[in-house]
Subunit: 213 residues, 2 copies
DNA sequence: AATCACATACATTCATGTATGTAAATTGTC
DNA sequence: GACAATTTACATACATGAATGTATGTGATT
């Protein structure tokens, strides 16, 4: 049995993506042998080279599939309520953290992205997409913070760009460290409290960068 | 001229560490060829294999040299003032951020650690040391938070473990993201404001994890 | 009949580890 | 302090394995 029907073809492609995510997590992307990915998926390297050009394209596909749900959340939130921008920001962040806390494959994705991957030239397309996504996310959150300042939810002297960098760093750090030790605390239950702490700090003492002397 | 005096020997060793840090940053640790490191240092692979067993040991030495100043700061702070534990925590975090903001080699180190390195089995000793350092740092900060609660600097219902995880994540995230785009904002000037925001949140709305239903 | 979705086989590159060479520096001896 | 003897700090040469990319085969499908 060599040739499959179209649905079987898609199934092997997904099996390859699943296997790749697992092996990437175990061995690291750079040290991963395509033969291992293939055998894990129950096929040979021929199947990989049929669906993907090389390891970089396979990795890009894994990332693409893994970040789709998060991007969907962002896109959905962009056209939702703007009555309460601060609550919108909180909900966005909360959903990202809960997605991580409750989905094993999301944990695997971020484990690979944060700790099992080298962002160098050969992964240039993935790096470029990451940068673009980050920039879009940052500008979207900053717009919400600007609205929050405009309606008095945040102090008028808030440096919204800095506040955005701070929140983004907070989220990245929480995910970066939690995937290293998911047992250290219950992220699903604590996420909201952790977010409230930072947001309270934003309201009470928003970051302002001192002018150069 | 082959054989050097002892000071020359140490000089080539340091040249190898410098070259390794550069090449690691450019190519990523896994994709780095020891021949590139050697030629960048003006020697051959023979010199590397004389000073280090393999790439893993070279990387460990690079990390060792890079984290020494930070560890010295922590050790020094552990035996300093305990009159104002919250201020001590702030100063510790501030010095870490300023060290990153002002030292190019520290930026290179963290760029490698965060984005140009895969933490897998072959780097096990480095991973183990990282884990130990993180655990020590977390417990030290938590002890300071406990003192802050004891003397009324933080609310009595503060979950100091969660607060510690939050601060640590905040710092990791700030460094993780800033090294990606050091031009995005002036970390040296904004570090204190960013820290004050989180610490204000801690005082006003300390994180508490809700009990499971 | 033609193409698809792989499997198999092959050639090539490439980095590593080791083995060996070697000149200078150190040590020991008197 | 002169002079081997030995060790140091590398450079050079070599063998090996390992992963890659490609070329080709092949049976089912459309």
């Amino acid at each position: 049995m060599v040739r499959k029907t179209r649905v079987d073809t898609l199934a092997t492609r997904n099996a390859l993506l699943d296997a790749a995510l697992q092996v990437f997590r175990e061995r690291g992307v750079a040290h991963t042998r395509l033969a291992d990915v293939a055998s894990r998926a129950g096929v040979t390297r021929g199947a990989i080279y049929w669906h993907f050009r090389d390891k970089a394209e396979l990795f890009a596909a894994v990332c693409e599939r893994g970040t789709l749900p998060v991007e969907a959340l962002l896109a959905e939130a962009s056209r939702s309520q703007q009555r309460d921008p601060l609550a919108t920001v909180k909900q966005l962040a909360l959903m990202a953290l809960k997605q991580l806390a409750t989905h094993a494959d999301t944990q695997a994705m971020f484990d690979v992205i944060f700790h099992k991957c080298e962002f160098t030239e050969d992964l240039a397309p993935v790096v470029a997409k990451n940068d673009a996504d980050r920039a879009a996310c940052l500008s979207q959150v900053r717009a919400l913070f600007d609205q929050a300042v405009a309606i008095g939810q945040l102090p008028p002297d808030t440096d919204t760009a800095l506040a955005t960098h701070g929140l983004h760093a907070y989220l990245v750090g929480l995910m970066h460290e939690w995937v290293l030790a998911p047992a250290s605390y219950d992220l699903a239950r604590c996420a909201e409290a952790l977010l409230d702490t930072y947001l309270a700090g934003l309201s009470q003492r928003p970051p302002r960068c001192p002018k150069p002397t």
